[in-house]
């Protein structure tokens, strides 16, 4: 039972962390609960579908279907996170000011909650499909596996609890800083996802340029450990990054930064300063 609990919890960590961060980033937005619930629900449904067609996906594109699929899912999530951060750069200050003056959720509708709902959905889909396959394997393999199945269910509960912990932990940050902090968290999250997408393309044999390993820090922090997995999701920690992963990681951060700078630029008429 404990084994199943640990396996499922490990898979849930990534999705749990992302849900927690998204909840914190959307603090004070009316209707966010509904959107995030839609994201989670859609992700779960998608996870079941992906698990059901795992064989077909795997065999598509000469056996590179799974890698291609994962890379696409990650790439879409990166774009959505960029969109969210750009939007926040433009409107975050107003929202924070409103929240301070009125103290309640006021901003409704205008925020691209769909973007974050998609991010949540994709995270649940990716990790969830592995959990579904694992639990399916248990159910398929025999009858006396009730306790293992219970372990799996408890693992999901632990993942949800971890998500809540992330959320309340972030809420402890003073309101003034919370949008800045969540924006940076989301930027790092996106950079890590982009680097991961590159590795999937590499594994699929679709992008092999600069795939030499740059360094190895597995002696310092193993990616298999719980902390290693957390850092993998949070900042994209990889014990043996390739050159291409580093390039894409840095480029994503720079692109995110520039996008936020451009979005933030005040809309006053430009004086001719030639």
């Amino acid at each position: 039972m404990l084994g199943a609990l640990i396996i499922v919890f490990r898979e849930m960590l990534e999705a749990g962390l992302i849900v927690g961060i998204v909840l914190a980033a959307t603090q004070g937005v009316a209707g966010r609960g509904r959107w995030i619930a839609i994201g989670i629900g859609g992700g779960l449904a998608g996870a079941a579908i992906v698990a059901a067609f795992a064989g077909a996906i795997s065999e598509a594109f000469q056996g590179s279907g799974q890698e291609l699929f994962n890379a696409c899912v990650l790439a879409i999530a990166v774009v959505m996170l960029m969109w969210h951060n750009a939007w926040m750069a433009r409107h975050g200050r107003e929202i924070a000011a409103e929240m301070r003056s009125i103290g309640v959720a006021v901003s409704e509708g205008a925020r691209p909650l769909t973007a974050l709902a998609v991010v949540v959905g994709l995270a649940v889909l990716r990790e969830g499909s592995e959990v579904v396959l694992f639990l399916y394997g248990i159910v398929a393999s025999g009858t006396s596996m009730g306790s293992v199945f219970l372990g799996g269910v408890l693992g999901i509960a632990c993942g949800a609890a971890f998500s809540a912990l992330t959320y309340y932990g972030l809420l402890a940050i003073p309101q003034r800083y919370i949008f800045a902090v969540t924006s940076w968290l989301i930027a790092l999250l996106a950079a890590g996802m982009a680097a991961q997408a590159v590795q999937f393309l590499n594994n699929g044999g679709l992008l092999t340029a600069f795939d030499n390993t740059m360094w190895d820090t597995s002696w310092l922090l193993s990616e298999g450990s719980i902390l290693g997995r957390l850092m993998h999701t949070l900042i994209g920690y990889t014990e043996r990054p390739t050159g291409m992963q580093l390039i894409v990681y840095v480029c994503t951060l720079v692109a995110m930064y520039l996008l936020m700078r451009i979005a933030r630029a005040p809309e006053r008429p430009r004086a001719a300063t030639v």
């Binding site: 795997s58 592995e130 394997g137």
Partner: protein, 107 residues
């Protein structure tokens, strides 16, 4: 037709990588890998076909090789590795980590 096109595109993209590759096969049975130790040449690309002869799905995982790959029950999956520096690269079947483990030795 669409799949044919995709296959052509994929093979065109993959051709350079495959041309240099040596092929290996790992078989999963009773949640164990055979062979559990695979010797490959360092500095080259290789493809490994993971054949799952169990009825249950397995996830071939190796942080050292940066690979996560689900292989469904009674199915198979292709993983691509390399070029590797000489050394040992452990891998596991994540769903049955206590029995499903092995190592790739690059030399």
């Amino acid at each position: 037709m669409k799949t044919l096109l995709a296959a052509c595109l994929a093979s065109a993209l993959l051709a350079p990588a495959l041309a240099r590759a040596d092929d290996f096969t790992l078989t999963i049975k009773d949640h164990k890998f055979t062979p559990s130790e695979l010797k490959v040449a360092a500095g080259k690309r290789h493809t490994i076909t993971v054949v799952n002869n169990d009825a249950t799905p397995e996830e071939f995982e190796s942080h050292a090789l940066k690979i996560e790959k689900v292989v469904v029950g009674n199915g198979k999956g292709v993983v691509r590795i390399g070029p590797l520096k000489a050394g040992k690269y452990p891998f596991v079947g994540e769903y049955h980590e206590d029995t499903a483990k092995g190592v790739i030795v690059a030399e």
